[in-house]
């Protein structure tokens, strides 16, 4: 399986090649080279997946990890060393498939979407860098390798959010994304340090084997401020995950990240990077479950709250990308909850399987939603919902694939989202009633806001270019009719549409499970019927309110009053963060420190210099060069000494 290195190496080489030489080639050539590279990468990933799942992955009845490549990169101490390698096990192979598929679609789509943009070559170089980092992250053999690639995806995300770097909003969004996740990574790093100090290893295999006996034993009896150290370490590691996966209250960067080009949002901020936190918890799931189950409970609560919170905000947003961003936050929270409520082993580990399943299906339909939104934006040159409406007539492919994705995310059978969401709800149902009912409500809200979006874009009222948002290309008030996107953009939509319909039919539990032993799942029709019911209610409400143009939504918003305004302003969390960073940190910490340095510390140094100078000026007069004066001092001194000697 050594050839699996190609999955990592190809995008890296593409990045170096396009990054160094891209400027010298025609934009189109760079795009095509990048896309071909990704095609190769995806082909290898599919081969690896086939070989792993159908040929070598199973020993007896258990999925066993394979490590085709692993070498020591940097040694710290006798026990601790960073290795770089490739770990193939069901979840990492599954991720390889997801990442390469979505990445390939995005590469292809961008050929059309980004056509004519300045920095086209840079765009493809950065896409390759991102793919490289993300693929390296999921195949990490040890937690430090994961941290390395974790930081690399952070930087590629930073550069891609800020792709339109002349736009101040894009620059500040990219900065915010990086700093918020960096802050979360601080927790991750400290968590790694604690974990590795006690266990003496970074290696995932050592950490998780034998029900994490190593972690349990090495942390036994160690506690800090009332909580066991294992809890601290794992909670801190989860903090890193919460930052990348945009869990409340670290989610604030993700909506702003929509400043990046839309295909980037599809790849990074919907399908791959943002689920890294879920993947991290899943990767360390045995450790969480055996060493710090209370952290899992916390994850379940955080996830539940985030899911509801983001869904409520999503209802009120009018920027279509922001609706999708909050929807992403909500759906990732779903995955987190599933991990939080999961037990270990066999059918008890349903939540774990469901989480990975939802990650898998969500990647496709959410990428599809974003690419569809991109196609719409491409046509009408606006992100705002009220600039759209009635587009179904003009862009049939986009409309139909968008509908497919909406049905999938709403959880209507037989679309993929139904199966994965149903498993999550079933897992929650058997674990915690309150969590289940909250998720159930969120499912309804999801169906509602997605169809609100769908109806507002494609139906509602006949299309007329919005007077407030003049199209940048329509000089002199001339507006051309919106039209379907070119084939490079339409083809990915269709392919992802097919995935969104059928990926739910995969018997996922045969491949992915908490203890790597396949088990059988069946649809729990009690839960399923409830979830279908709530989805239909949501869709129905959206249909009534938004299918035709009406004043109803505005009236409703008026009635909701405070709640509506709060949700519209994202519950003012951005303002709180702004206040903390700008006022508290900048004005009350940094400024005083800088002042202290200039005036107190440096002032003291200058003061010493000044005193020395003054002192020397004042006694300089003594060295006048007048011999009479010297003689006088000499005589006076002699008399003084003589007097002292005589009288003492």
């Amino acid at each position: 399986m050594e050839y699996s290195i190609l999955i990592i190496a190809t995008p890296l080489l593409m990045f170096l090649f396009l990054g160094l030489l891209g400027g010298k080639m025609k934009p189109k050539v760079a795009g095509i080279i990048g896309t071909l590279g990704m095609t190769l990468c995806a082909t290898v990933a599919y081969t690896v997946a086939y070989q792993y799942f159908f040929q070598i992955g199973k020993t007896g009845d258990t999925w066993t990890p394979a490590v085709p490549i692993n070498f020591e990169w940097l040694r710290f101490t006798d026990h601790l060393h960073i290795d770089l390698g490739i770990l193939l096990d069901p979840i990492s192979v599954m991720m390889l498939v997801v990442i390469t598929t979505v990445s390939l679609m995005v590469h292809l789509y961008s050929l059309g979407y980004m056509h004519g943009e300045t920095g086209f070559q840079r765009y493809y170089a950065l896409l390759s860098l991102f793919s490289f980092s993300m693929l390296g992250l999921v195949v990490a053999t040890n937690i430090f390798q994961m941290y390395i690639f974790w930081e690399l995806v952070g930087v590629s995300s930073y550069s891609l959010i800020g792709f339109y770097y002349t736009k101040p909003s894009a620059v500040s969004a990219s900065k915010k994304a990086f700093i918020v996740t960096r802050f979360a990574d601080l927790g991750f790093l400290v968590g790694i340090l604690i974990l590795s100090y006690y266990t003496g290893t970074f290696d995932f295999a050592n950490l998780t084997q034998d029900n994490s006996a190593l972690v349990v034993n090495s942390f036994a009896g160690k506690s800090f401020i009332g909580l066991s150290l294992a809890t601290w370490a794992l909670a801190l590691i989860f903090m890193g995950g919460a930052g990348k996966s945009a869990m409340f209250p670290l989610h604030i960067w993700l909506p702003d990240a929509m400043e990046g080009p839309t295909p980037v949002s599809a790849l990074i901020h919907a399908a791959t990077m943002v689920v890294a936190g879920v993947f991290l918890v899943a990767r360390l799931f045995p450790v969480y479950h055996f060493a710090a189950p209370e952290v899992l409970t916390m994850i379940a609560y955080v996830g539940t709250f985030t899911a509801l919170f983001a869904a409520v905000i999503a209802i009120t947003q009018t920027d279509i990308k922001r609706v999708l961003a909050f929807s992403t936050i909500s759906q990732i929270a779903y995955m987190m909850v599933a991990l939080g409520v999961s037990d270990f082993g066999g059918h008890d580990g349903l939540g774990y399987m469901a989480s990975m399943f939802h990650l898998f299906t969500h990647a496709f339909f959410k990428a599809l939603l974003f690419l569809g939104a991109g196609s719409v934006i491409h046509a009408v040159h606006s992100n705002e919902m009220h600039a759209m409406g009635g587009l179904h007539k003009y862009m049939k492919i986009t409309s139909i694939t968008f509908l497919v994705a909406c049905l999938a995310i709403a959880g209507i059978p037989p679309f993929s989202g139904f199966y994965s969401k149903d498993e999550i709800l079933a897992a929650a149902f058997h674990n915690h009633q309150a969590i289940f009912w909250t998720l159930w409500v969120v499912a309804g809200l999801t169906a509602f806001y997605m169809f609100r979006l769908y109806f507002c874009i494609f139906w509602n009222r006949p299309y007329s270019p919005h007077p407030l948002t003049p199209s940048p290309q329509g000089e002199g008030g001339h507006h051309h009719k919106p039209h379907e996107s070119p084939w490079t953009m339409a083809l990915p939509l269709i392919i992802l549409g097919v995935f969104s319909i059928f990926s739910g039919l995969i018997p996922f539990a045969d491949f992915v499970s908490s203890d790597n032993q396949p088990f059988h799942t069946h649809i729990d029709w009690t839960v399923a019927s409830m979830s279908i019911l709530v989805a239909i209610i949501g869709i129905g409400t959206a249909f009534v309110l938004y299918f035709k143009e009406s004043r109803q939504p505005a009236v409703l918003a008026q009635k909701m009053g405070v709640l509506y305004r709060g949700a519209l302003h994202k519950f003012y969390l951005d303002e709180v963060w702004m206040w903390v960073t700008q006022t508290v940190v900048f004005r009350y910490i940094c400024k005083p420190i800088a002042w202290f340095d200039r005036h107190i510390i440096d002032g003291t140094m200058d003061g010493i210099a000044w005193t020395t100078q003054k002192a020397s000026t004042s006694i300089r007069g003594l060295q006048s060069g007048q011999v009479q004066f010297y003689a006088w001092v000499f005589v006076a001194g002699t008399i003084l000494i003589a007097a002292l000697v005589l009288f003492l």
Partner: protein
């Protein structure tokens, strides 16, 4: 002739050659040739060192000695271990790139004469293992700084040059006392570091000799609260001098703290290290916080250096092998990275005639090459994996965490916080000056980096990337050389 002495001889020969040079072209030729020879020498030394190390387990290799002041046992003794080799390579690279970054200096002959003298001091310091000779080279490196800043600087150059020189001289006064103290306390028979290390300095002497020696070197290593020469000094210095100063000279401080203070007086280091650990812990966070609000590019970088160099001393005082390895790697990393920063700041300043970040914007559009390099420097500074900052910082953090005790752990966590603050000031600067709309219409059409500037930054970037991607080479080189001091510390 010993290969080590060539490091001192080559700059001296360059000075002689400069003396007879008449026109710009000859001067440049002399400088480029000489600096290239130094780089080649450093490379050759590294290769030879590895060969020699394989067959010899002496503490110092390529030792040679010549007694030049017998009555005080002062000799010119040279020798290197892995750490000195690493430092020599760093110095050679920075001297080399500095030449390209000062391609168009006014009064080039005088400038380069002092520049070479400065190099003599730097190289001499790293090859010496005789306390007095070491001190002498240290002074040789400091004095030219005064003239280089005072004559070729910008802004309040006389004030800054004076401040820098006086503060560092204050440090070396402590150092002088410390060195003489060490000489007498160890039985006034030798000035050779290795020989002194084998004797025992009584603990009651160590108790006062260690603090003053550490402080003396610490001033140069920008130890809080004796760091204030650094922002003003760097801000006024010409590009190449900033590069050499932040890149190499500040490393003299860390290297000296390690080689003289801690190596010779491990008991006191063990006993009193915590005081300095607190100071360095403050340096790390304090420097970073101060950098956040600065508006002058050089001030930002100078405070960032306070933070990063604080981390060097911090890691040394953790006194275990991993953390110390990290400290030396941080010296290398910071040296390359800060030189790159200063080279680029010089480049930008040379064109826009301002270093105020509020007066710049959108430079990415105007000079893409320089801007991309600036971003790379920034990413190295905030610890992006694959570049040198990451490996150095991670080695430090992992090493520091190996020390048991809440005190050490708490300080390690505090130091870790700097990675977030660093990200804040780096991204703030990058976002302000490189991205966004073009701020000043006069900046449109400014030329991008010229070929000689490109040579300088590309060499530095290659160094940063090499260290970042293949850290085990440098790490092993350093790790093994720490055995003597670790075994001394382990006896306590």
């Amino acid at each position: 002739m010993n290969i080590l002495s060539l490091f001192v001889l080559v700059p001296i020969l360059m000075m002689i050659a400069l003396f007879f040079s008449r026109d710009m072209k000859t001067i440049r030729t002399v400088m480029v040739a000489g600096a290239s020879i130094l780089v080649i020498l450093a490379t050759a030394l590294t290769v030879m060192f590895f060969q020699e190390r394989a067959v010899s387990d002496a503490e110092m290799l390529f030792v040679s000695s010549f007694k030049w002041y017998p009555s005080l046992n002062i000799s010119y003794t040279v020798g290197v271990d892995g750490i000195s080799v690493a430092m020599l390579c760093l110095s050679a690279i920075i001297v080399f790139t500095g030449v390209f970054s000062s391609w168009n200096m006014p009064m080039p002959k005088e400038f380069f004469l002092w520049y070479c003298l400065l190099s003599v001091g730097v190289f001499g310091f790293f090859i010496s293992i005789d306390l007095f000779t070491m001190f002498m080279f240290y002074e040789v490196a400091l004095i030219p700084m005064y003239l280089l800043i005072g004559l070729w600087g910008t802004g309040r150059k006389e004030y800054s040059a004076m401040k820098l020189t006086l503060m560092l001289m204050g440090g070396s006064a402590f150092l002088m006392v410390g060195i003489v103290g060490i000489y007498y306390a160890s039985g006034h028979e030798t000035m050779n570091l290795i020989e002194i290390a084998q004797r025992h300095i009584p603990i009651e002497f160590q108790r006062w000799l260690f603090p003053i020696t550490f402080l003396g070197f610490g001033v140069l290593g920008a130890l809080f609260p004796f760091h204030t020469w650094s922002p003003d000094g760097h801000a006024s210095a010409p590009t190449a001098v900033s590069m050499l100063h932040a890149g190499v000279l500040m490393k003299l401080g860390g290297y000296g703290c390690f080689r003289v203070a801690m190596y010779l007086m491990p008991e006191a280091a063990h006993e009193l290290g915590w005081i300095f650990l607190i100071l360095t812990g403050i340096s790390v966070v304090y420097g970073a916080f101060s950098a956040v609000v600065q508006t002058d590019l050089k001030y930002i970088n100078a405070y960032s250096s306070v933070s990063h160099c604080g981390l060097v001393l911090f890691a040394l005082l953790m006194m275990n092998r991993t953390a110390m390895t990290g400290a030396i790697m941080q010296m290398l990393s910071h040296g390359l990275m800060t030189a790159l920063f200063f080279a680029l700041i010089g480049l930008i300043y040379g064109r826009t005639h301002t270093r105020d970040i509020r007066e710049m914007g959108g430079l990415m559009k105007i000079m893409p090459f320089a801007a991309v390099c600036y971003v790379i420097a920034g990413l190295a500074s905030l610890g992006l994996p694959g570049l040198s900052g990451f490996v150095a910082e991670m080695t430090i953090f992992v090493g520091a965490f190996q020390n048991t005790g809440v005190f050490y752990t708490a300080f390690t966590v505090v130091a870790c916080c700097s990675i977030v603050i660093t990200a804040v000031y780096i991204l703030r600067t990058v976002g302000k000056i490189l991205y966004g709309p073009i701020q000043d219409k006069h900046h449109i059409g400014l030329p991008d980096a010229a070929w000689y500037e490109k040579v300088s930054v590309v060499v530095l970037i290659i160094g940063i990337a090499f260290l970042g991607m293949y850290p085990s080479g440098a790490s092993n080189l350093i790790y093994d050389s720490l055995t003597p001091i670790i075994s001394k510390l382990a006896l306590l």
